[in-house]
């Protein structure tokens, strides 16, 4: 039987196991939406295409599945770009289907035409323009394969309207054959042996872990490696939920707003093992003073990340699950040397403990004004261990990373690489769609919230009980902090002059709005929100000029932290 392009699309999505898509209709995808009308695939109608992409992204981050988006041509498609770039920077698997003007009109500046393959080439792992309906099924198969394998990432399929209508026989391919795409999964065993040897000889080892730990689901292997070698672990923003933050070996986050002891450990270590991390500038600070005393082993599935920013002594390309597994196996063959290693590194752990005691993570508490860190600690205390937390971008994001104490993989959804304000609310939406029964909380700033607040409507419509914490400092706080510290307190355009009535805003959409202005209200409001069915927005009026500390000023080494304002 012959199917139309749009039927082939929906059939293929089902073959890929897709049961939910996020999107927004328009003329260039109207045929797809017509077929969706009778399809068993659930479609979540967000209120903005950017929201749809972040929602699919949140869905992907917490499940590990590929997030799927449909958007129309032109403005619908260009609205997806920030979301795609966000996912690309954080290696999130995603397939974006954009409608396109009919093939004969492409290039004619037709109504609602945008060159999506051109626009998204630098922010997708790959993209396709399908010109012939007979290529469609194979293209979808390849798109999903590329999105989820190797270093995951977003893949865009641009689908002209005439291809959606054209018919051909449908057969979904069983296999993919891409001559130019063969990720290396298995780590070279000689390199892994060398890594074991280097680790056994180390006196001051540190494991520096990035987002790859979650995308490879190798959290158990990491814990095993850390524990058997008693190596301290520091996590990047992307890996805060990749290793239990309460673990005695955990140093917390490193880099610009990292802990004192994580940054000192990296500065002083003699062996740094980078695991699924990419030496981002927010992590390394001034590169020529980063881990200068250390030999560096870099394990990553993407060869381009290796030796991109720093010189590496031992590169290992492969899937973390494979490499860490083999490394643990290799080490456990050498019980005696392992014992010796643990003894040899005891002093190192003592030194780190001293750093921890000298400058623990903390903040000045207050009985009179609500401290943002206090709110975050309370949220942590009152929510379940497997609650999924998303954030927007700014100070509230850093405080969440610093104080939330994540314990389970894939529970922290945040825009690390691109730093996209407006990410958190739709990402929480997507997470709640994936896990209707788990607690999902967006920790937001007053500025960021207004970048995708329209998604409140989506939450209410689909009865998604996301809880929103707005840490309202009446500032674009993170930028204000920089202006305070480096621009003489000249708060240029960072004051949110118009106070928003967030409670009323929530109510206008049919959600519940709560507000806390006193310290004593904080716990009450959180409890009440968690007990209230449906989406709830909580606004906390926090100390307005609170700063995120420690902080490494731009251009400084990560050991040169500002510890107090």
């Amino acid at each position: 039987m012959e199917l139309t392009g749009s039927q082939i699309l929906l059939e293929s999505l089902q073959k890929e196991g897709v049961d939910t898509v996020f999107g927004y209709p328009g003329g260039a995808v109207i045929n797809i939406y017509d077929d969706l009308y009778d399809s068993s695939i659930e479609h979540i109608l967000t209120r903005h295409e950017q929201g749809a992409v972040h929602a699919a992204d949140g869905y992907a981050r917490c499940t590990g599945k590929v997030g799927v988006i449909i958007a129309t041509s032109g403005p619908g498609a260009t609205n997806t770009v920030t979301g795609i770039a966000t996912a690309y920077m954080d290696s999130i698997p995603m397939v974006i289907i954009t409608g396109q003007v009919p093939t004969p009109l492409i290039g004619n500046d037709a109504f609602q035409e945008a060159d999506m393959c051109g626009i998204t080439r630098p922010c997708t792992k790959h993209n396709f323009l399908v010109k012939d309906v007979r290529d469609l099924a194979r293209t979808i198969k390849e798109a999903f394969y590329i999105a989820r394998t190797g270093r995951p990432g977003p893949v865009l399929i641009d689908l002209p309207k005439d291809v959606q209508v054209a018919k051909c026989k449908f057969k979904y391919p069983e296999t993919v054959s891409l001559r130019g795409y063969k990720p290396t999964y298995s780590g070279n065993s000689r390199q892994i042996d060398k890594a074991a040897k280097m680790l056994l000889q180390a006196r001051r080892p540190v494991l520096y872990v990035g987002g790859g730990i979650n995308s490879s689901s190798s959290n158990a292997e990491l814990i095993k490696l850390a524990e058997m070698t008693q190596s301290p672990v520091t996590t990047t923003l992307m890996a805060m939920s990749g290793f239990p933050q309460g673990h005695p070996l955990c140093l917390g986050m490193l880099g610009m707003h990292g802990t004192f002891y994580a940054n000192m450990s990296v500065t002083d270590c003699d062996l740094l093992i980078a695991i699924g991390a990419r030496f981002d500038d927010r992590v390394t600070g001034r590169i020529d003073s980063f881990a200068q005393k250390a030999k560096i082993i870099h394990i990553d599935i993407d060869p381009t990340t290796i030796k991109k920013n720093v010189a590496v002594d031992l590169p290992i390309v492969g899937d973390l699950k494979d490499v860490l597994g083999k490394l643990c196996d290799k080490l456990s063959e050498q019980a005696e040397s392992l014992q010796k290693l643990v003894k040899n590194t005891a002093k190192w752990r003592e030194t780190i403990d001293e750093w921890k005691q000298a400058h623990p993570m903390g903040y000045e508490s207050s009985d009179t004004i609500i401290k943002p860190q206090f709110v975050i600690e309370k949220v942590r205390e009152l929510t379940e261990d497997n609650a999924i937390i998303s954030t927007e971008v700014g100070q509230h994001q850093m405080w969440t990373a610093q104080f939330f104490q994540f314990s389970q993989p894939r529970t922290f959804l945040t825009s690390g690489g691109l730093g996209t304000m407006g990410f958190g609310l739709p990402a929480a939406l997507g997470a709640q769609v994936a896990f209707p029964d788990r607690q999902v909380i967006d920790i937001s700033g007053d500025g960021s919230f207004q970048m995708n607040s329209q998604e409140l409507a989506t939450l209410v419509q689909y009865k998604l009980p996301v809880k929103i914490v707005i840490l309202n400092n009446n500032y674009l706080g993170m930028v204000r902090q920089w202006q305070q510290m480096f621009f003489d307190r000249r708060y240029s355009q960072t004051v949110m002059e118009l106070p928003i009535d967030f409670v009323k805003l929530a109510e206008a959409y049919g959600a519940t709005g709560l507000q806390a202005t006193e310290v004593a209200d904080v716990e009450k409001v959180i409890k009440q929100a968690l007990e209230t069915p449906g989406p709830v927005l909580m606004e906390f009026k926090i100390s307005s000029e609170e700063n995120v500390l420690p902080m490494v000023p731009a251009g400084k080494g990560i050991h040169e932290m500002v510890l107090a304002s």
């Binding site: 393959c117 051109g118 080439r121 630098p122 792992k125 790959h126 993209n127 323009l129 010109k131 590329i146 891409l178 001559r179 130019g180 795409y181 993407d302 060869p303 381009t304 290796i306 030796k307 991109k308």
Partner: protein
């Protein structure tokens, strides 16, 4: 240092933009670029000349390989290879300089492919350095136009790239 790199790519929509976009997006230098179909009809062969230190070249190599459309990348630096570039050079040639132009053409084993009372158009094939040499000698006579293909290269020996 100068590197000549061959890239075998899937001959598909947008592939050249992927390669050139990679260079511009990441700030890599690109001195010349030539693209044409290869032995396999569905593959194109790109030859490009770039400059950079070892770290940059390693990145260029890896980033090219990372493109889904890339089948193979070969940096010919340090390898045995044949390099050829084609150039057409239009040079002023009047009265007294006409004989001189022909003499230079002869020395370089180039060819005159178009003649007017005031000019010669010269065709030359060879390694890029040889073409540079010819241009230098012709320059004093007054060059009106140059078009160069950029070099193409092939490894010496019996083995082919695709195998």
């Amino acid at each position: 240092m100068k590197h000549t790199i061959s890239v075998l790519v899937e001959n598909e929509f947008g592939v050249l933009a992927r390669v050139s976009g990679l260079f511009s997006g990441r700030g890599f230098n690109i001195e010349s670029l030539s693209v044409a179909p290869s032995l396999e009809p569905n593959l194109s062969r790109i030859t490009l000349v770039t400059r950079g230190d070892d770290r940059i070249l390693e990145q260029i190599n890896k980033q090219l390989n990372k493109l889904i459309s890339t089948i193979k990348v070969i940096d010919f630096t340090g390898e045995e290879y044949v390099e050829r570039e084609l150039a057409l050079i239009k040079v002023a040639a009047e009265a007294e300089s006409r004989a001189e132009a022909l003499r230079i053409v002869d020395i370089f084993r180039a060819k005159v492919v178009d003649v007017t009372p005031k000019s010669y158009t010269i065709e030359i094939t060879g390694a890029s350095a040889k073409i540079d040499g010819l241009i230098e000698l012709l320059r004093p006579m007054g060059i009106k136009e140059i078009v160069r293909s950029g070099p193409v290269v092939m490894g010496r020996g019996a083995k082919g790239v695709a195998s």
